[in-house]
């Protein structure tokens, strides 16, 4: 391929990303250092009259008010909980699929990925109908006599955890399956020949060899879950102040763009490590999905 063509090939997507990815993130940094004002745009310029006007005031404010620290901790905790629940639910599913007869594996995997074809928003909406006190699950459990009063899960933190587990479960199953499928079956039979019981084989052969899949899946669940907005907004009440929700409120309700930008910068810094790790383990999963 000649040089001209090569340059053109890279230049188009690169230019797009500079405009709609590089510039936006430079601006988020800039706005996080400015102050909120009433006007259009609702923040002060960084340089006025040739002098630097920015400051770390927004970040100081984030440290002063406990609300923000609480939101960050709640987000990390909830994301970790959802990740754990996804492992507990997703690992057995991935293991069962990897052990199924060969012709069943592809259709079973397709069934795991298929909920993605329906709208994410709609699937979260369904949980409102299932979980709220007058909802279908509550009616069902009461008529079975399993609970006395109406189900008191929604709105609440536990409902958010269920919603996030539900939303991100396929992200966990697919990479774990990919790593289980790669394990050489002769290793398990060698362990069995040497006298290991099935439980022992699982703990000392299968589980360690599938750890990369568990790690990849955990990152794919944890990273988006920390910044999640839709699930806590619909299933959690005012008692679950997750960071994604707080950014949204600062931006839309308080119109404090600089504070929202500062929170976004904090979230970015928190997620930089996990995101970098997730990028490394991305390629094999992409192949599974494509």
């Amino acid at each position: 391929m000649n040089r001209m063509m090569r340059r053109l090939l890279v230049a188009l997507p690169a230019a797009w990303l500079v405009l709609f990815f590089g510039l936006p993130f430079a601006l988020i940094l800039q706005v996080s250092l400015s102050r909120a004002v009433i006007g259009q745009p609702p923040f002060t310029p960084l340089f006025a009259g040739g002098a630097f006007q920015g400051g770390l005031g927004n970040f100081a404010l984030l440290l002063e008010d406990d609300l923000y620290l609480e939101a960050i901790l709640a987000s990390l905790g909830l994301a970790a909980g959802a990740t754990g629940a996804c492992i507990l639910l997703g690992y057995p599913m991935a293991w069962a699929i990897a052990g199924a007869p060969r012709r069943w594996r592809a259709p079973l995997l397709a069934l795991v990925a298929l909920p993605f074809v329906t709208s994410f928003l709609i699937r979260v909406y369904a949980w409102i109908g299932l979980l709220r006190p007058t909802g279908s699950l509550s009616v069902l459990l009461q008529s079975l006599g399993l609970i006395d009063g109406p189900l008191a899960l929604m709105p609440g933190t536990f409902a958010v955890a269920i919603g996030m587990t539900y939303t991100y479960l396929p992200f966990m199953v697919l990479p774990i399956y990919a790593s289980l499928e790669k394990i050489d079956p002769t290793l398990a039979s060698a362990a069995a020949d040497l006298g290991a019981r099935p439980g022992r084989i699982f703990w000392s052969v299968t589980l360690p060899l599938s750890a990369p899949g568990v790690l990849a899946g955990s990152l794919f669940v944890f990273v988006p879950a920390v910044g999640e907005f839709v699930v806590p907004e619909l299933l959690g009440g005012p008692g679950t102040p997750m960071i994604g929700k707080v950014i949204w409120q600062e931006f839309f309700n308080n119109r404090d763009w600089p504070l929202a930008a500062a929170l976004a910068v904090v979230l970015l810094v928190l997620l930089a490590g996990p995101i970098a790790l997730a990028q490394r383990s991305q390629a094999p999963t992409a192949r599974g999905l494509g």
Partner: protein, 265 residues
């Protein structure tokens, strides 16, 4: 418990968890009563009311248009980026390109939405363009979609047998001819799949659209989201069922196409 029955239980429970809520929506969309969660008889009245709801029908039209345009843009840009990453070897900025695409994939939507909005507002004050509305939603969705398309195209090119292209070159085909007759047909499924992913992402997005949209442009997910915030609404159940139906049909059509293509070989 024997391993076999444990496997069945794990799959049964997992699939019940994944599909139960979807089934619930479909069943209750045919419920007669206004109380969405209590069954009171079969009816299709909510479908009729849905079709009479101008606001929803208009928003659906806008969403489909935005999804089609942004998915096409995303496919073009993502294919170029995926091709560059898989085929051009080392070039300056390669790491940046791959990193930016990966970051778009993994970043929380709230951050991406806020960042894009700031960019649109600044561009608007510098150039008087692009304003805020359908146009900015298309640009935001194209950015998200291109990252997925690039991922799929790159994975497809990495798996693909280069000797086919080399054979064509050896037989005297010009590079462009090789691309059109060998490379393109082989990556076509990835392009189609990528377009579909970008289309679905756009049709489903509420966060990016809420940030970058202006007064006049309200997409379907924005309406669904604001009514879900107020609680349940039987019309939304009906709408959801229609969307599930369309999704299922699209999957069936895809499976059928793949089968036909494989039999044709």
């Amino acid at each position: 418990m024997s391993p076999r029955s444990f496997r069945l239980v794990a799959l049964g429970f997992g699939f019940a968890f994944l599909y139960g809520p979807i089934l619930w929506i479909v069943v209750f969309s045919f419920n007669e009563g206004r109380l969405v969660t209590l069954w009171s008889g079969f009816s299709t009245r909510w479908y009729a009311e849905l079709l009479r709801n101008r606001r929803l029908v208009d928003a659906a039209g806008l969403s489909l248009t935005i999804a089609a345009v942004s998915a096409s843009l995303a496919t073009a840009l993502g294919a170029l980026a995926g091709f560059a990453l898989a085929r051009l070897g080392r070039f300056s900025g390669r790491g940046l390109l791959a990193g930016a695409l990966g970051a778009v994939l993994t970043l929380p939507e709230v951050i991406l939405g806020l960042a894009l909005l700031l960019a649109f507002v600044s561009l608007d004050s510098w150039l008087g363009w692009p304003g805020r509305g359908a146009r900015t939603i298309v640009a935001a969705h194209a950015t998200l979609g291109m990252a997925y398309v690039a991922l799929v195209v790159r994975a497809r090119l990495a798996d693909f047998d280069r000797s086919l292209e080399e054979a064509a070159l050896d037989l005297g085909a010009a590079p462009l001819q090789v691309f059109m007759t060998v490379t393109l047909p082989l990556i076509l499924p990835a392009l189609g799949g990528g377009w579909l992913i970008a289309f679905m992402l756009s049709l489903d997005d509420v966060v990016l659209a809420s940030f970058v949209s202006g007064p006049g442009a309200t997409t379907l997910p924005m309406i669904v989201f604001s009514s879900a915030r107020l609680g349940l609404n039987p019309q939304i159940n009906a709408l959801a069922t229609i969307m599930v139906g369309i999704g299922a049909l699209a999957v069936l059509a895809g499976v059928w196409l793949v089968h036909r293509m494989e039999r044709g070989r």
